[in-house]
Amino acid sequence: MIRLSIPARQALAKLTLPMLVVAAFALLLLGKADALLAERARMALADAMAPIYSVLSAPIVRVRTVISDWDELLIARSENVRLRDENERLRRWQSVALALDAENQRLRANLHWIPDPAPAFVTARVVADAGGVYARAVLLALGPNHGIAKGQIALDERGLVGRVTEVGARTARVLLLTDLNSRIPVILETSRSRAILVGTNGPRPRLMYWAEGAVPAEGERVVTSAEAGAFPANLPVGTVHYNAANVPEVEPSARLDRLEVVRIFDYGLRGIGSPEGSGKSGVSPEGSVKPAASPEGGVKPVSSPEAAGKPATPPAAAGKPATPPAAAGKPATQPAAAGKPAKPAEARR
């Protein structure tokens, strides 16, 4: 250690704080100039902390379950009545859905519909809130050598959660659709009008830029749009709800406040951020929103119309036994339909 004279040491001590403040501002600018650096440091820390979080979250989840069990016990009777009613209603809807599903498959078979590729997915546990004060995000714990990449889509058992924005060695950060920076192209299901879902950091994101004349109706379902190639079409997002200020918001289907397990889907979309994905899908004609999703998905081999005749088109559906659970994320008909339309096409040959 260098021995300094007392005045020199005092002068140095006085200079430390201003120098560090300057260094902090330099850091601020550096972080702005090279966002990747900050991201890497952050994910390295998250990687280091994730195992600790996973271990600690087990007893925490147990305590929370006990508390919620107790609460549920108190309202069990009224809850039972409500659930029985709901079950009755859902059973009616189920028969409607099954009939529609069958009809849908018949119609698709007649139309030689190009099936959407069945997406690959992995399921991951949410281990921490990765939002901070000004953001809404969650941290997922993944094993090493996971195949998760930026831009992949997270769903829980009910609907869209968000997109993967940062990926570490054993963690990934998912930006929720409620985050201030989240912009999601959506379609209002009944009017087929397009809109943008804008996060506000609040519990309900706002609907903006819908087509003139197609005002979102209260209770209308909102699904993702394949426009811009960032999302596949028809993932359930939520329902329209007008707030006190008469601004249309969307009540998310996903339970964003209590996420425990999410599924990360790889739709092979290149979407926003890379030149080859954006720009092209925007010009797809009205009404053909759905197929626009699959031709853009460069990974799966269903990109050209003449490939429709080949029965080999849904290789994912045939090869992987894991595909049926995807039905919950995608509209229920797709994986089932993926195998079928190929048959009449084959017969035609």
Binding site: A24, A26, L28, I52, S57, A128, D129, A135, A137
Partner: protein, 184 residues
């Protein structure tokens, strides 16, 4: 600044064990701050937990700057701020600047504040927490080129003010015992 020597004179060099003890006691504030911040980041699952990390950091830096400035020098505040940025998903540097500002102003008021009652120190902390939250809000907005919701910043300040008494009680205990190098 070295603590005032109450019994001046020539003494033998402290033994290795004693020096280690002194170092451990001197580093208690920094270690404790980092551990508390990591603890605040553990997903307990209650609403608004994200505001706890900046609150803990601000309280620790304020308290130890007032009562043990030798154990909370700017060189220690800087990495604590960095940890805050990383854990709190703030733009890198924002937390550092906020905490350095808290440290700097607390240090310049230290002589006055340290002699006041708990309530006065708490009221002064409220001003520090509010200013720090406002500074953080301003810098984050500036870095993102957009106005962020003010409510988050207000909430962050309120959480810090509300949590202060709890942590201050714990820290006061530690201040006279485990964090006191002169007792080594």
């Amino acid at each position: 600044m070295a603590p005032f020597d109450r019994t001046p004179g020539i003494r033998p060099r402290p033994s290795l064990g004693r020096r280690l003890d002194m170092a451990a006691r001197a580093s208690f504030p920094a270690t404790c701050t980092a551990l508390l911040m990591l603890l605040a980041a553990v997903p307990f699952g209650f609403a608004g937990q994200a505001a706890l990390i900046p609150a803990v950091a601000t309280i620790s830096v304020y308290f130890w700057t007032l009562f043990r400035p030798a154990s909370m020098p700017p060189v220690v505040v800087f990495p604590i701020g960095l940890l805050l940025d990383l854990l709190g998903y703030l733009p890198i540097g924002v937390g550092v600047i906020c905490l350095l500002a808290v440290h700097g102003f607390a240090l310049s008021w230290q002589r006055f504040l340290v002699r006041q009652s708990f309530a006065v120190i708490w009221v002064a902390f409220s001003a520090f927490a509010a200013a720090s939250a406002a500074l953080g809000w301003g810098l984050t907005s500036l870095m993102g080129f957009r106005l962020l919701p003010v409510r988050s910043a207000i909430f962050q300040g309120v959480v810090a003010i509300a949590v202060y008494p709890m942590l201050a009680v714990l820290f006061s205990r530690a201040h006279g015992s485990i964090a006191a190098p002169e007792q080594a």
